[in-house]
């Protein structure tokens, strides 16, 4: 996002800061071994990133590099050992493995998670109709989750993250199992969300997708290396270092911070 050239510098900085929907600063995470003769695994070491409104950010890295761990920390599902995460606005988190109730139907899943988000019946119905239409799985509304194919289960997994129209979307390999049509529909939907000002962070393994992102972070040896797509040719070592002033996340963003919006939904813990 670029600053408004006509604004005074301090206003531009404030506006730029208010554009940030999630900022992680110097995140460290080690999985300690609870058993003797097994070693602890250091996954993240000073990882720093930010996602702005209307920005689609890719997070890439080798298997086991800690991408999902980082995503869980950003979503609030996992605590970091050190560092700070600050979120502004509502968050939608699509975990890599669908965390859904196997014996509930698609409809029941929408209703239950809609209640968690504080949505009323009409809002849930609208969200369900919209997402099942866009992702093309409306004919499975009465089917239990355990009887869905892997692709359709993933569509529901993604829909649960999207249904409350969050300000920030955290997607951990969201299109696993998607057919080509759904894959394209997903990116079309992502473009619409970008246009609406939603910040989107996506973990991806597909190198060919780099051009779809505004920014790519590569996770290597616990560090994030930022690359502006189309702007910089080479990854920067710690480009966000010193640019983001973060504090340890509290359950809710201060009312006078960012957009002054109380964070609800995923990431509100």
């Amino acid at each position: 996002m670029t600053a408004d050239r006509s604004s005074p510098p301090e206003h531009s900085e404030q506006r730029a800061a208010s554009d940030i929907v999630v900022a992680a600063d110097s995140i460290a995470k080690t999985y300690d071994s609870r058993l003797p003769f097994t070693r602890s695994v250091e996954v993240l070491d000073g990882a720093t990133l930010e996602v702005r409104r209307g920005e689609v950010v890719g997070i890439m890295g080798e298997n086991g590099s800690g991408k999902s761990t980082l995503m869980q920390i950003l979503a609030g599902a996992l605590d970091a050992d050190a560092g700070a995460v600050q979120r502004a606005g509502t968050v939608g988190w699509c975990p890599q493995e669908p965390r859904l109730y196997d014996r509930l139907t698609v409809d029941e899943t929408f209703r239950l998670f809609g209640q968690a988000y504080g949505m009323d019946d009409d809002e849930v119905r609208e969200a369900r109709d919209w997402l099942t239409d866009v992702l093309d799985f409306e004919e499975f509304a009465d089917r239990q989750v355990r009887h869905l194919s892997g692709g359709n289960r993933q569509k529901l997994n993604l829909s649960v993250a999207l249904m409350h129209e969050p300000d920030l979307l955290l997607l951990d390999e969201p299109y696993t199992g998607f057919d080509w049509e759904t894959f394209l529909a997903f990116w079309e939907l992502t473009e619409q969300l970008r246009d609406r000002g939603v910040g989107v962070a996506i973990i991806s393994h597909i190198i060919n997708e780099r051009d779809r992102f505004d920014v790519v972070y590569e996770l290597h040896d616990g560090h994030l290396h930022r690359q502006e797509i189309g702007a910089d040719d080479e990854p920067q070592s710690r480009p966000t270092e010193g640019q983001v002033d973060c504090e340890r996340t509290t359950p809710f963003v201060d009312d006078d911070a960012g957009g002054g919006q109380r964070a609800t939904g995923e990431g509100s813990r």
């Binding site: 599902a77 509930l104 988000y117 990431g267």
Partner: protein, 247 residues
């Protein structure tokens, strides 16, 4: 959406998850009858020569013991499966904004609702199979309900420590079986030991209801103590699994 609405939705989801598993329904209908019959017939084979210390006939005591075992084992498996199938989804639901307290309450109420159904089926089956009039069937239901609640909570505990369906079920069934041996009172084991067996007080409640038609009030308080301890431990375990454990 009110807290009551959310808790209701949570209980409905948990109950549907149990009922929609055909194996659960089959077990619910078959295990009490099978267990009551096997325990009754087995004990009836022994001559009444003072080996066993029973309040009623050996066959009656056996059938009561079978009903208590079936109720405990079924409720334990319910608690276990609740924990295994829901821990990750519950965690996501909590992150989505479903209040932690309401989530815990809905899980406990699910145990209470389905446990009551299990106790009800076991009561009806016991009354039908017993072969002699049951003095106070509603009190039998109370005793079996306490057994269901205790083992439902134990199932949550086991599910936290051992979140695997086969291994967890085996642990609970073996636990219920050993517990039942202590609880049956057949072997004259010192009460200072048997009183700590979770099924001992429910067993006494059911026996008093069947044989004497009375509420064994002296067993209500210790049974409540067991439930309280198990409730505290299971809530702590659930909170750890859903909120504190690495994902």
């Amino acid at each position: 959406m009110t807290a009551l609405g959310r808790v209701g939705a949570g209980v409905r989801a948990g109950t549907q998850s149990f009922v929609r598993e055909p194996f659960n329904v089959v077990l619910l209908l078959v295990l009490p009858a099978l267990s009551i019959q096997i325990y009754g017939v087995s004990l009836a084979q022994f001559p009444a020569v003072g080996i066993f210390d029973a309040a009623g006939t050996l066959e009656t005591t056996g059938r009561i013991t079978g009903a208590v075992f079936a109720t405990g084992a079924l409720a334990g498996v319910l608690g276990l499966f609740q924990m295994i199938s829901a821990r990750h989804a519950d965690r996501r639901l909590a992150l989505c904004g479903f209040p932690d307290v309401e989530l815990v309450v809905s899980r406990l109420l699910t145990i209470a609702v389905v446990g009551s159904v299990i106790a009800g089926v076991a009561t009806v089956t016991l009354v039908a199979i017993l072969g002699e009039p049951v003095s106070a069937a509603p009190l039998v239901f109370v005793g079996l309900g306490v057994a269901a609640a205790a083992y439902g909570l134990l199932g949550i505990l086991v599910g936290t420590v051992l979140p695997r369906e086969l291994e967890g079920s085996l642990v609970l069934v073996i636990l219920a079986d050993v517990d039942n041996v202590f609880a049956s009172g057949l072997f004259g084991i010192d009460e200072s030991i048997t009183q700590f067996a979770p099924l001992s007080h429910p067993h006494e409640l059911v026996t008093a209801a069947v044989v004497d038609g009375q509420l064994a009030t002296e067993h209500l308080l210790p049974a409540g103590g067991h439930l309280l301890v198990f409730a505290v431990l299971s809530i702590a375990a659930y909170t750890y699994a859903v909120g504190g454990e690495p994902a």
